[in-house]
């Protein structure tokens, strides 16, 4: 059942205009990255950095935009009615919707990574396996953000959920730098800051792209840890979403 819903959701998402529009935006972005590279002394390095960053930024925009609309639009437009009136538990529906979105995002990330690496190769920038690993971790980051967006929508309106989703993205990366800033705080302030930061997914764990440009190798243990961390947060956020939608009146 879950896979049936996931399949339909994935197909619907991949055919949507906003999805394709954002992919087009990515293509435009990597073209502009080359132009920026031309006015820089280290053009290949700058282009590579910007291409990797764009995969994350565009991916997160797609994830937040689609994630916030995923279930809420179905309720508002009542496309949900013909599905949930069938012998289908709501939790299966929510999990299926998320998996479908995740599948679509993975396809999108794969296309972006492929296009990005092809473009870098065509412009003469050096290619290496670290860039692929960085792209895969960015894809995991995007999946976590999709779960964040889905969870926020269960709790509030789609517009506010999108804003909160993007704020979570900014905070999730800021949290990664918190250890360097905590020594500036004392006493209860440090405790409060640390406790608050612990509630936010640390997206810095997926930001290998900053080291990948310099071909700094990622230890396998760290890669496995980042994957496990991402899957844990996804499971947690989707479970919260299921709990909220279980009793929601449609």
């Amino acid at each position: 059942m879950i896979l049936i819903i996931a399949g339909a959701t994935c197909r619907e998402a991949l055919r949507s205009r906003s999805f394709l529009g954002l992919l087009a935006l990515y293509c435009l972005g990597i073209g502009l990255a080359r132009v920026v590279g031309w006015i820089s002394p280290a053009s290949d390095d700058v282009t590579t950095n910007l291409v990797l960053s764009l995969q994350s930024i565009v991916g997160v925009l797609v994830a937040v935009a689609t994630g916030t609309a995923l279930v809420h639009t179905e309720i508002k437009q009542r496309t949900l009615y013909t599905v949930l009136s069938r012998p289908l538990a709501r939790w299966r529906f929510v999990v299926g919707k998320y998996l479908g979105l995740a599948a679509a995002l993975v396809v999108g990330q794969g296309v972006m990574l492929g296009l990005g690496l092809t473009w870098l190769g065509a412009t003469g920038a050096p290619l290496h396996s670290a860039l692929v690993v960085a792209g895969l971790l960015t894809a995991l980051e995007v999946l976590v953000m999709a779960a964040v967006a889905l969870c926020w929508t269960a709790l509030t309106s789609p517009l506010l959920a999108a804003a909160l989703g993007l704020a979570t993205y900014a905070l999730g990366h800021a949290v990664a730098t918190l250890p360097g800033m905590l020594p500036y705080l004392q006493g209860w302030r440090m405790t409060v800051a640390a406790a608050g930061a612990s509630l936010i997914p640390n997206l810095g764990r997926f930001a290998y792209r900053n080291d990948a440009v310099h071909q700094v190798p990622l230890p396998p243990a760290e890669l496995a840890s980042a994957i496990a961390y991402g899957l844990l947060w996804i499971a947690l956020l989707v479970t919260i979403t299921v709990a909220v939608y279980r009793k929601k009146q449609l």
Binding site: P41, N49, S53, S56, Y169, G172, H173, M181, A207, H214
Partner: protein
Amino acid sequence: MIARVGLTTAILAMAAVAVGWNARGMLGHERAVRAKNLDFLPSPVVARALSCGHPSSASRLRWIDAFAYFQFQLDRKDDTIAGGGSGFKRLYDMLIGLDPRFEPYYQHAALCLGGVLERHQDELGYLQRGTLELPQASGLWRSAAAVLVTYYAWDAQQPRNLDRFLAAWADSETDDNAKAMVWQWQRALARRRLGGLEQVPYWLDRLPTTVPDSPMSAFIEGILREQIARYAIDELSAVLAARQAAGEPVERIADLLDAPRLATRQLHLQLGPVAVIDGMLALRSDPFGYPYQLRDGRVSSLGLDYRDFAKAVAGTDTKLQSAAKRDGGWPKDLDGVAAVGVLLPTPPPEAEIDYRGQHLIARIPDPPASPLTFR
């Protein structure tokens, strides 16, 4: 149908006007000296937090933008910012904080602080910080060694410490060939030591780390030409003084092709002002491609004069912009510029100052010969 064609035509016409208007505003401008206010730069830790997971991309974009600041400081030779402190240091501390593994940040920090502001202690600090973060960055080690030798004369005054430094450099290299090159560097540096051209080896060493035709490359080549031109002026002036002291007439620059006196100067064969062509002494063009001149009883390099003139005009333009901001408007012409209290520099022969688009621009004739190149 007619309405649709009319609407399409109207859209195309308006779009053409809009795009053309934009393009007109972008093209045909002289390169303007820009000033950047670096007061707002956050600390490295805060910058990292604000970069939202893209510190290396954010640092690259900021770095590209920072070239405007670099260009400005070239003339002012001062990077103090409001509240005190160094703008360059603040900028590069932030960039390095965002991406400590990017070698060019250390190189450029060293170039700006050492090459522009001649603060070699700070320059050395950044280079050594770079070698700690990137032990295998040969360029950083080489630049640091050049600073130690050129500005601190470690080869003469601290030879044992220099050897320890070079040993540490060699240890950091993983490749045997690279290790050998460390010692070859030391021997090459010694061979290039020349009176009056002490800094040339340092700059020649920095040049390969830059991208050809980049602003940084142009800056270093300019410095090299300047130093070679000053060397030539010094040498030719010495010959002039000797002739004048001996009561021998000097009416033209060619009169300084005084073989016996030139022989005592031990001029550098490649970089000196005199060449031997078909067994005859000939005066080279200055490194900028212009002839050396005898003007008002002094030896001058027209290229150096034009370069100094261009810098002076750029500095005067900065003063004009400040005056315009103060007075709430720009003068209409050059006479008006003088009237607002901005003193215009005296142009060298065949050069002039132009006032266009509310900016002062130095107009310099093209050199008759090709400038000296170093790559």
